[in-house]
Symmetry: C2
Subunit: 149 residues, 2 copies
């Protein structure tokens, strides 16, 4: 494939593919973390492991709001295919925001997050149909650099 | 109107309504900041002014990437109806993320941002049709409190 300069710029963003579905009968919200693409754009070292952290914000005290995929060896395209279920009513779901971070455990076993996306759930559909979408990930190194300027 | 407890929880999120449109003929991306609803959820003092700050990230060096609406006196529902145009190719647009912050000038004329939303532009449509959506705003006071826990 040959890319023009604009397209080269376009493939520069790291992305995450996520499927979302609300099952109204059982009042369950499903988050499927499918895969990451073009991960090198987040400036990761080659030998690191990577996992995806999913938070449904603001957190409710009554239900879990933080989930993590298993860690995988970093490569440019990473397939997770991990599903998380959240028990939540439809009106409650609509005031939540999904925060998705791509993180890596550092040498002290702390989690360092490399980039993320934020997805408003204000207009999630109640039909039970799955919406599958790609989301750009904003690099935290880039954001930090920006805020210092 | 009578709300049940779930609905009461649901109207708890501050929201912003935004219209987005890509005009492929002229390679222009339009961002229309329509209005804020339920603004009290961001814990604003009554006598503050409020504006919306829009950033297209990562910033390109060649084109402006930061825009601000005029400030309005805070009230629960604020109508801005301000449009911003960005010259950008369609492939470039697809790797951008829209960061929308609701801010207020403090007493030292610094900008304090109260909450925001992040919108991936990876799947913006090139048809030229306007998509109008509501997005939940995450309160920065809430996020700070969370990260201290």
């Amino acid at each position: 494939t040959v890319f023009d300069s604009d397209e080269l710029e376009a493939i520069g963003a790291a992305r995450i593919q996520i499927a979302l579905k609300y099952d109204e009968k059982n009042k369950q919200f499903a988050i499927l973390i499918i895969q990451l693409s073009n991960f090198a754009a987040l400036l990761l070292q080659q030998d690191q492991k990577v996992n995806v952290r999913v938070a449904i914000l603001p957190c409710s005290e009554s239900t879990p709001c933080l989930f993590r995929t298993r860690p995988l060896e970093a490569s440019d395209n990473l397939v997770f295919n991990e599903m998380f279920w959240v028990s939540i009513s439809y009106p409650s779901l609509h005031q939540k925001t999904l925060r998705v971070d791509v993180c890596s455990p550092d040498q002290n076993h702390m989690e360092e997050c490399l980039g993320g996306a934020q997805i408003s759930l204000a207009e999630v559909c109640r039909s039970g149909e799955k919406t599958v979408r790609w989301y750009n990930l904003l690099s935290y190194k880039y954001l930090k650099k920006q805020s210092r300027q």
